[in-house]
Amino acid sequence: MILHSIRVRNWRCILGELSLEGLPMGVSVVFAPNGSGKSSLFEALRAGLLWRHDSSSKEVKDVVPWGRDLSPEVTVEFSAGGTRYRVSKRFLKGGSCLLERMEDRRYLPLAEGPQGVTRTLEVLGLGQRGGKVWDPASWGALQALWIPQGGICLGTVSDQLEEALRRAVTSQAQDPVSRAFKDRLQGDFRRYFTDTGRESRKSDSPRHVLRSRLEERLKRKEDMEADLRESEALQDGVAKLTAEVVELEARLASVREEEAACGERAERFRRLESELTQVRARRDSLTSQLELVKDRLSRRARVERRIQEVEAEAQAVKLDLPGAEARVADLEERLSRARSELASAREGVDRARLMEEKARDARRLLELRETISRLQGDLLNARAALGEAESLRERLGARRHPSDDDVREARELMTRVVTRRAELEAFMITLEMEPRVGLKGRVTRGEGKVELTASPGERVAVRGTREVEVLLEGFGLIRASGPGGDSASIREDLEMVQGRLTRILEAHRVGSVEELEALGALRRQMEGRLAYLEEGLEGLLRGSDISAVEASLASAREEVDRILSRFPLWAQCPPDPAEEEAKAGEARDVFVALEAAEGLCRELSAELSRTEAELKGLADRGGRLEEELRALGEELLSMEAREELARRLGELQRELDFAAALEEDLARRMADLGDPEGDLRAAAKAREDLEGGLSQLRSRLAREEGQLEALMNRGLYSQLASLEEEIEDLRRELAEEDLRARALDLLMEVHRECQEEMWIRLGSAVGVSAMEILRRMAPRPVGRLVLDRMSPARFSPGEVDSELELGCLSGGEIEQVHFAVRLALGLRLAALEDQLLVMDDALMATDRWRLEAAVEELKSHRELQVLILTCHPERYAPLGVPMLALQAMRAW
């Protein structure tokens, strides 16, 4: 990369714009005092090429001019790979990136935004850089070419630098064909493998694609084979079911034959059974007929026997009938006599009952008259008591009478008043005066009047408790004191008690406690009399009221009137109950006679009834017997003759014997046939079972055949064939790709080995080149330089045989060694393309002679563009290199 110009704006101490343009190849020195922006310019160069424009990290924010709100900007023009570019970046607010490429002598946009950043890195051969861009370790190959202030020592060579060097050095070491071969090999290799050598899983990896397709088809094949296996299993199942169906059909045919044989046997059995039934019916019929004939014979004998019995009985009845008729006539006569006696007894009884009623009424009349007299007395007394009680109640209600509690309280209050007055009197003092002249004054403390006047010699007294004060005109204040104590509470209690007493007396309209007590005694007297009267009333009325007594009196009078209405004579001459009772007792004897007559009548009536019934029974019985006798005669006449019945009986018995023999023969023949119906049922059951099983089996068979057919109709066989063909092709292709991948892997491995060896060889060449530079620059002989990963490790001066650690050398020598190595690396990188070498005050410990030698060495390499930033222009001025003053480049 070669730098053509750089424009920086608003960058740390660079306010406004700073522009460095028209940079030539070879060595240029940019000088300015410290703090003028040399390092900022170098930083802006790195930012323009490497940094992301959209970063907001602390390092980016730090480049904003202190205390200002500005967006840093940088524009870099450079050449890379023979093409000229311009990249413009603005950071932070309004951040942007634009990469332009020169085409036909003018810049045309190439990429912008993040793409601009990426493309810039690609143009510089840095690719996507990792790490922090302000760290030299992440500058890639530029780590060797950009030397920050005081950083001539390369330190640890970053992986990126090593890779860049390796790439650059390898590129130099290889011809274009080798490079193209390598690129092509890597391209092919990456189709199969990742950078780490693992198999690529990218979608364009042939093996991955083939393997995925193969796996997918194998999976499908597996599924199809499973379906085919299922179809085979179904086929087996169908075969088994078919065999079972055939076997069952054979068994069914056998069972059906057996069933037919059983049917035939059952038919024979049924025929015999029918015959047997007929024979049994015939036998039953004969038996019935036989029984009928026997029955007729028996009935005829019974009728004949009965006729004899009835004739004998009828004769006996005829003999008993006259005796019964005589007993009836006798009884009827006796009964007539008894009934006459009974009628006369009943008349005596009516009189006796009348006498009894009269005696009872006489007794009742006397009782009622006593009752009326008693009730009239009670009624009179009760009315008097009621009047007095009413009067007492009126008197009690006419005024309020003190209760016993009121009287007792009044008496107690009176006692307390007396006590309190006595106590109050004990506290009283008296100021007595008997002036000789008239006095006029005012009682200021004491009881009674306030204004006080006294004529001369008049004795006046002022009373008070504890203290009395009088203000006398002309005499002033006169005071008298008595014994101490709390008279106020006594007075207060006295007033309260007096008030209470007054209220009680006033309530009962009396003036003193004595009057109150008299009034209470009067109340008690009236209440006692009232209680007495009420108790007497209770006794007179017996729990009821006076109207009930009056009703009882009226009822008694009504009954008296009723009795007197029956016996009016008793109104003038009251009856004698004893006399009437005696008369009734005499009449009572007739009841005994009446009972005797009634008993006789009952006995005779009963006997007459019995005798009459007996007579009637005999007559009825005689009639019935005659009737029966007539019926029996008729029946006997209707019956067959005994001889005819005996002949028929003999014939029937012979027929019956024949039927029994026939029945026995049929039963034997049926027994020989066994149980054909049972056998038939069993056979039918077996057939039905087999038919059911067969039906189920056929259903299953049909179902499985249907499933099999459905599977077959899916075309699995053809699909599987196609799939297997595809799999075969894929496997072959995969094997081919595997072989190719393994071959490319081997080729890549061998190629890497060769490249590594070449790197090692070319690495030592860098060391040789650095030694040559050192020999040209060094003021004294140089021995050997040993590099460790392109970084100087040990050094042997010419005069010393042994190798020294680099730290054993002086600062100038150390800088010189590092400078030589850096220059050697830069030259290696520049062998492929011209390179920019930036040194920001890099050689701090180098003396004038060594600096001169270094600059001379730099000047000798035209493939390098060297930009030296320094604050010591005087050190470079004599060396014949272009000097650019930084201050002159500012545009404010």
């Binding site: 064909v177 193209a180 179809s231 086929q235 899916r714 053809s718 063909e725 075969e728 190629h751």
Partner: protein
């Protein structure tokens, strides 16, 4: 006299996995062969068509395919008799349960080992009911029969060396022993006849009417048979195959060998219906890759299917010596010394040669 077409081993639905993308064509040609057989029967006025087993590749073949064959046979100019073979044995759930075979028509499946009256003759079918059997399928055929020509039809292997005893063995004198005028055989894909003691041919394999794989000898035929009771039959072989299954092996000695091979391949007739399996061995130079690629392109473009099998080569290293001094030459030489896997190594050398050739233009 009765005239009929004897054929067998149609193997409709055959899977030709080994030929990958061409398998579909191979399967299609099975049915096309049947069509051609029917055409032969029509042209030769055959009384009937007798198929001695293996009509189908498998009992599991798609039922659509069965229907397709039935549709084809329904247009037959004469009755067709189909015998179940060991590929499509007569078992429950077999392809023969297809409804199309149940309906009466000109197609008869010979399901039972019992005489069948055919136009002008009596057939004695020997249907196969299992994949394998050590029983002679013709054992049931009675020696005596009607005065009509007696024609047996069986599927199995005629006894002989290298024949499995479980391959439905058929005695070499089966026709004579059973008193048959002709015994139509199926199972072997090559056409073959068997003479009896009198020298008369009364037993024959028609072979498959369309070849089924590489290495088959004399397949792709049917037999037109004319039989008169008591006389030796007249048998005529009629080719019906269309696809050619060619296997070639070439030992290359240099670029000229490839040129010769290319010429021979280009000279093959009907490449569009030819499947070719080419095995290459011998001396191989990376410089020959272009010629090999050209051959590959010819095969790809013209032939129905091809496969080139490369035996381990003896790799020519002379081109490496021609590389300029430098890393590439170093890589190539070092590669030749890597002997982990010769196939990988040789392929790597070829890959290097290919890349170099590409980058050099």
């Amino acid at each position: 006299m009765v005239r009929f077409i004897h054929t067998a081993d149609w193997q409709v639905g055959m899977r030709a996995v080994q030929v990958g993308s061409a398998a579909e064509t191979v399967r299609r040609e099975r049915l096309e062969a049947v069509r051609r057989i029917l055409e032969v029967a029509r042209k030769r006025c055959a009384d009937f068509l007798l198929v001695a087993g293996d009509v189908f590749e498998d009992n599991r073949v798609d039922r659509v395919l069965v229907q397709r064959l039935l549709d084809l046979l329904s247009r037959s100019p004469c009755p067709v008799y189909l015998l179940p073979g060991n590929h499509d044995p007569l078992v429950p759930g077999a392809v023969w349960d297809h409804r199309g075979f149940a309906s009466p028509g000109n197609v008869t499946v010979l399901r039972r080992a019992a005489p069948v009256a055919a136009p002008g003759c009596v057939l004695y079918p020997c249907p196969v009911a299992s994949k394998e059997s050590n029983q002679d399928p013709t054992g049931w055929i009675p020696r005596e029969g009607a005065g009509l020509p007696r024609i047996g039809v069986a599927h199995g292997s005629v006894e002989g060396p290298n024949v499995s005893p479980w391959d439905h063995p058929i005695p070499r004198d089966a026709a004579e022993r059973c008193g048959l005028d002709y015994l139509a055989l199926g199972h072997w894909h090559s056409t073959g006849t068997f003479q009896d003691r009198t020298g008369a041919v009364r037993m024959a394999y028609s072979g498959t009417p369309e070849p089924t794989s590489f290495g088959e000898r004399d397949s792709g035929n049917v037999l037109l048979v004319e039989v008169e009771a008591g006389s030796p039959p007249s048998i005529q072989v009629i080719p019906t195959g269309r696809l050619e299954w060619v296997r070639m092996e070439e030992t290359l000695l240099g670029p000229k060998s490839l040129e010769g091979l290319k010429g021979r391949l280009e000279a093959l007739p009907e490449p569009g219906s030819t499947l070719i399996h080419l095995t290459l061995r011998g001396h191989m130079s990376p410089q020959c890759l272009d010629d090999l690629e050209a051959i590959r392109q010819v095969l790809e473009a013209r032939f129905l299917w091809h496969r080139i099998h490369e035996d381990p080569w003896e790799v020519d290293r002379s081109w490496i010596q021609l590389l300029p001094e430098g890393m590439l030459r170093e890589v190539a030489l070092r590669l030749l010394d890597r002997g982990e896997d010769p196939a990988v190594r040789d392929r790597a050398v070829f890959e290097m040669y290919r890349i170099l050739k590409e980058v050099r233009g």
